[in-house]
Structures are given as structure tokens and as C-alpha cells.
Symmetry: C2
Subunit: 179 residues, 2 copies
């Protein structure tokens, strides 16, 4: 499928350690000139659903600054572009929950907000778990709870969980595992 958009030029607007904003001068599919503000994400979004032998998973609660809202989510974090996503996911799970896992299954590739950003995420199912110590980053003030996967899925269905990657990942695992 050929790209119906043409890029005429790109203006760098903003850059920080996590994102880059560009304004693209474009020709839109109908042939007219236009602009496109594109937010490039420097990290992959990695969501992890740990699952123990009793059918429990873990959720992480934190205050999300851009939303000004508290959010319960699957363990999640950012993976640098030049790092293998599995390795990033393993590190994030360890940092946030202290858990290491033997069996890792990549269950999803997801584009979180494709009208404005190029953010790409991956969700992993992690099984064969060993508990350990958390290693929170200093920007984080996290609460971690353990609960049956079925209850986490109910928090999606009731609307209590609003994070996109968490909703998508939990519902996909539920369907894969008939929970």
C-alpha cells in the first residue's frame, strides 16, 4: 500500500529525553498542502502481565501527571529504541514488582495513539515467577497489588482501568486463556 501523503519538509520543534516534536509540511491525500504535528517517542511502551501458578497477576497504581489522575495499570515502562524489547520488559517488571520470570510470551504489538504519535508498544505474558525486591525509579511513587487475573479483567470491564495498553493486554490474555 503506497503512502498517499507527501512530506515536503520537516521542522524540529522540541526535544527532551523522551519525545521529539516535529512539524511536517505535507501534501495531504487529496492533493492540498497541510501541516502535520508528529510526536516521536524515543522509547517503546512495554506492558507486562505476570501470571503465577494460582492465576494471580499484579497491578501498579500511580498518579499520571499528564492526566492529573490516578491510574491502575499492568506493570509498564519504557524501552530504549536500541534495546531488545524483551530485555526492556524483563527489567521493567523487576523494577516495578520485584518479579523475575522464566517464560516470556510476546502477545501484542500496539500503536497507542497513531493520529499524532508514532508510539509503539508491546505486551508480554510472564510466567514461571520468582518474587524479589522492587527497584523503583526516583520519578515513581508506585503501589503494587496482587490479585486474581479474573479480578483485573473485571476492573477493565467495570471501567476502573482506563489505560489503553492495560485494557488491551488484559482483555487479550483473558481471551487467550479463557479467563
Amino acid at each position: 500500500m503506497e503512502n498517499p501523503w507527501k512530506t515536503k519538509s520537516v521542522l524540529d520543534i522540541y526535544d527532551n529525553p523522551w519525545i521529539k516534536l516535529e512539524e511536517h509540511q505535507v501534501v495531504i491525500p487529496s492533493g492540498k498542502d497541510g501541516i502535520y504535528g508528529k510526536v516521536h517517542f524515543k522509547n517503546k511502551a512495554l506492558g507486562i502481565i505476570p501470571l503465577d501458578e494460582s492465576g494471580n497477576t499484579w497491578l501498579v497504581g500511580q498518579y499520571r501527571y499528564p492526566l492529573d489522575e490516578y491510574s491502575w495499570e499492568i506493570p509498564m515502562g519504557g524501552g530504549p529504541e536500541n534495546e531488545d524489547v524483551l530485555k526492556s520488559a524483563q527489567r521493567e517488571l523487576k523494577e516495578e514488582t520485584g518479579i523475575t520470570a522464566i517464560k516470556w510470551t510476546k502477545i501484542m504489538r500496539i500503536h497507542t495513539s497513531n493520529s499524532v504519535t508514532d508510539e509503539e508498544g508491546f505486551v508480554f505474558l510472564a510466567e514461571g515467577l520468582t518474587m524479589g525486591q522492587t527497584e523503583f525509579e526516583e520519578t515513581e511513587q508506585l503501589k503494587v497489588i496482587k490479585l486474581p487475573l479474573k479480578e483485573a479483567v473485571e476492573k477493565v470491564m467495570s471501567g476502573e482501568i482506563t489505560d489503553g495498553i492495560s485494557i488491551a493486554g488484559l482483555l487479550k490474555v483473558a481471551r487467550l486463556m479463557n479467563v
Copy 2:
């Protein structure tokens, strides 16, 4: 739950008809100074899952400029902040598929990418359908297909659909309706 972040000042960086980028000077939860690049979305993201009496739904295919990738999604569009989200959803479904519907059910509130953006989306199930003419916007070059809801859900499970709102919405409808 009290917000553990403190905002010291806000610098406006960029503004276009769809997004606004701000750099916030903050005190992070641990007490140190930091910055936060926040992307404000001027529109709500509205996803619609139309469902006819035979169990069919519709998907929309388009080239997504920020991804440089073709994407099959549920009918979707943006609703201005000052407009009722149901009205916006009804307009977007009509524009993209020509469909009007009698019964509308809001099935999801979703935050698409809450580490950087404040984008909020809503997914509606639309039933009691009447077919009509599409009214594509000029930036759009859309393909529309009709298919059983079950097949759309299979496209999620196989990884063919990667758009976050589409994945979340289709899996939730599938679970709600035992598809």
C-alpha cells in the same frame, strides 16, 4: 489520592489545531526538580463499533502518517472538547461509513498514552443501523469493509489490527457479547 507531582511553571512550546505541547517545570515525587513534556490533545478520540442484526461490523483502513504504516481500525474520529462525545461519535460514524444508528451504548473510557499525553477516548457500540452515503474529510483516503464481528476480533488476536482503541474496543465488545 493526592497528586505527588508539583508544577512550578509551564512553558508553551507548540500549538496547532489538534495538539498543544507544553514543557512543565516540576518537582518529581521524590522531591527533585525535573521537566515534563506534556502533549495536550484538543479532541477526544471516538471509536465506534457498529453492529448489524447479522453480527457484522465495519473496519476502516487508512495510511497513518505518524507511523508510516497502513492501519485497519474501527471507525474513528476526533470530537471537539466543547461537543458532546455521543454527537461527535454519531457524526464520525456517518462520515466514515455512511451509517446512522438508533441505539448507542458508551462501552469504554480510555487513556491512550498517559505517560506523555492527556488524550482521552471513548468507544461506542452502535446498533439499529441504517446505511447511507459516506462523507469523507479531504485529509482522509479511507477504505471501508464490512465483516462479521467475530472476524474483526480474530484480526485483533492475530495481530493484524494494531491500533490501541480498536484492540481495546473490539475485545471488550467481544467479551460483553460472548462473541
